[in-house]
């Protein structure tokens, strides 16, 4: 569904944000794009959406070239930025003027998603809402647009704790095998139990692109026990020493995204070698 081949991108000459990035993202998955602040997560999403163009390399999304910004392409992708324009209209009018552009938009679903976020009054003015509430409206619209590709940049920023949990439920509800959802965040806990595939960006390149299953087959996440060897990374927690080690004995475990992220930041070469990257 999304294919980047040897993509270079820079906002200023000689200062590459993405260097020779190649990446394939399939449909039927929720992809989590992780990385520290400023590593190029947003830039990557903007390249996919056609908001910025690569200096070199090729970007293909749903068999379209995003740079051309064809209407047929744009009606199949919804990009929800971290910040967004405050429409000076009511939620009802916003829906009325924005929905005709998305052929699979469902008003019923939009209203239901809003209710799930505890927003019942559609006459509320968008520009008078708090940033968090406005974000909930935008998330509800993005999900109700039912586009095959949904790209969200830091969607949980500014959401309160119950809304973050609700967000995870709604994304899972809206997901199906024909869709592809890409979520970027630096708050990895917010994506817990949500994503199927993890992409980690660091120093202008993709250092990991693997499904949860692939990761837990290669790496074991747990609390340090006696006789544990091959430990790659460990950190102290209240429950004991949380470890990431090579899963040589095919032990079953739950993926801990935060632990994985910390481990890969400190032992990049060791971990990427396991995934043949």
């Amino acid at each position: 569904m999304i294919s980047l081949t040897n993509v270079d991108f820079a906002y200023k000459p000689q200062r590459l944000v993405l260097d020779n990035v190649s990446l394939e993202l399939d449909k039927g998955c929720i992809h989590g794009l992780l990385g520290k602040n400023g590593v190029g997560k947003t830039t990557l999403l903007r390249l996919i959406s056609g908001l910025v163009f690569p200096q070199s390399g090729d970007v293909k999304v749903l068999d379209f070239t995003p740079k051309k910004r064809q209407a047929a392409f744009l009606s199949q992708i919804y990009f929800l930025g971290e910040e967004f324009f405050a429409y000076k209209t009511s939620i009802e009018v916003f829906c009325k003027i924005q929905s005709p552009f998305y052929p699979k938009f469902s008003k019923e679903e939009f209203i239901q998603y809003l209710k799930d976020f505890e927003i019942e009054d559609l006459s509320l003015k968008m520009d008078k809402l708090s940033f968090g509430t406005r974000k909930k409206v935008m998330i509800a619209f993005a999900l109700a647009a039912n586009t095959p590709l949904l790209v969200m940049d830091e969607p949980t920023n500014a959401l309160d704790i119950p809304a973050k949990a609700q967000f995870r439920k709604l994304v899972l509800k809206a997901m199906n095998d024909d869709k592809c959802i890409v979520i970027s965040t630096h708050q990895v806990r917010d994506l817990h139990n949500l994503i199927d595939n993890i992409v980690i960006l660091d120093e202008q390149e993709v250092i990991l692109n693997a499904t949860n299953d692939q990761i837990t087959k290669k790496l074991f996440f747990g609390i340090k026990g006696e006789g544990d060897t091959n430990i790659i990374y460990s950190e102290d927690t209240l429950a004991g020493k949380a470890i990431v080690k090579e899963n040589t004995q095919n032990q079953e475990c739950n993926l801990d995204i935060e632990l994985l992220f910390n481990a890969i930041m400190q032992h990049k070469e060791e971990i990427t070698k396991l995934f043949n990257l």
Binding site: G50, R69, A71, G81, F84
Partner: protein, 244 residues
């Protein structure tokens, strides 16, 4: 360069553009009714020309405003419409819808201000007769046509500037306009010189009127070419626009 156009999508886009900027538009129309109504009742037609020039200048120089502001730019560029529809919507708004709305709002504006002038004391506004009101309405059309037909190339230039530069576009465009004016003058003078050396001899007074006629025609042609060129450049710029 393939051009995509879908009428339903285009109408939806126009509707959206209207709703997004309706507050500013309504406020502008109300100010236009009051202020414009007052100006068009004044007998000095110079003011009416300046008034229309200023309004058309603002409409063209702010045409791509939604594509300049950081957050609205993203929304505009990602809207599922073609680049051509996006461009056409801005063009229609700036050069057809807004001037039309200004003219339509000015008619009741002149009428209301004319009627009000008979109620208000003379030191605020002298009383107007029905004839003055009709003259004022007539001036709307003559002034609009005069400004639009004479300065379209300037509006086209600032229209292009509003998408080309993110900052200080008025200032940069004013410099560019000055450069273009100097270049055009040199060009016209050259044409003038070559034609006078090549074809014309004899009566100087006759030649001067002949020359000025030629200058007018050449100036109009150059102005039209500039306008088409800058409007086309604005389209190309929009297709290449990145939200950096």
């Amino acid at each position: 360069m393939k051009i995509e156009f879908n009428l339903n999508r285009f109408i939806a886009l126009l509707k959206r553009e209207f709703f997004v900027s309706q507050q500013k538009l309504l406020l502008g129309l109300i100010i236009n009714m009051v202020f414009g109504g007052f100006i068009f009742l004044l007998p000095q037609s110079g003011m009416t020309n300046i008034y229309f020039f200023a309004l058309l200048f603002v409409a063209s120089a702010m045409a791509f405003n939604l594509y300049i502001q950081k957050l609205s730019e993203e929304q505009q560029l990602l809207l599922p419409v073609s680049n051509f529809e996006r461009f056409l919507a801005v063009f229609v708004r700036s050069f057809i819808a807004i001037p039309l709305m200004i003219i339509i709002a000015l008619i009741p504006g002149v009428l209301i201000m004319g009627l009000l002038s008979n109620i208000l004391p003379d030191y605020i506004m002298p009383a107007c007769s029905m004839q003055d009101i009709f003259d004022g309405i007539g001036r709307i059309f003559t002034a609009f046509w005069y400004i639009f037909s004479n300065y379209y190339s300037i509006f086209a230039l600032f229209f292009f500037g509003s998408i080309f530069y993110r900052r200080y576009s008025y200032f940069k465009m004013a410099i560019l306009m000055f450069g273009i004016a100097v270049f055009t003058l040199i060009l016209v003078a050259l044409v003038f010189l070559i034609m006078s050396k090549t074809f014309l001899t004899g009566n100087e007074a006759y030649h001067m009127s002949y020359y000025s006629h030629i200058v007018e025609i050449v100036g109009t042609i150059i102005g039209m070419l500039y306008s088409v060129f800058f409007v086309f450049l604005a389209y190309l710029r929009l297709t290449e626009r990145e939200d950096k």
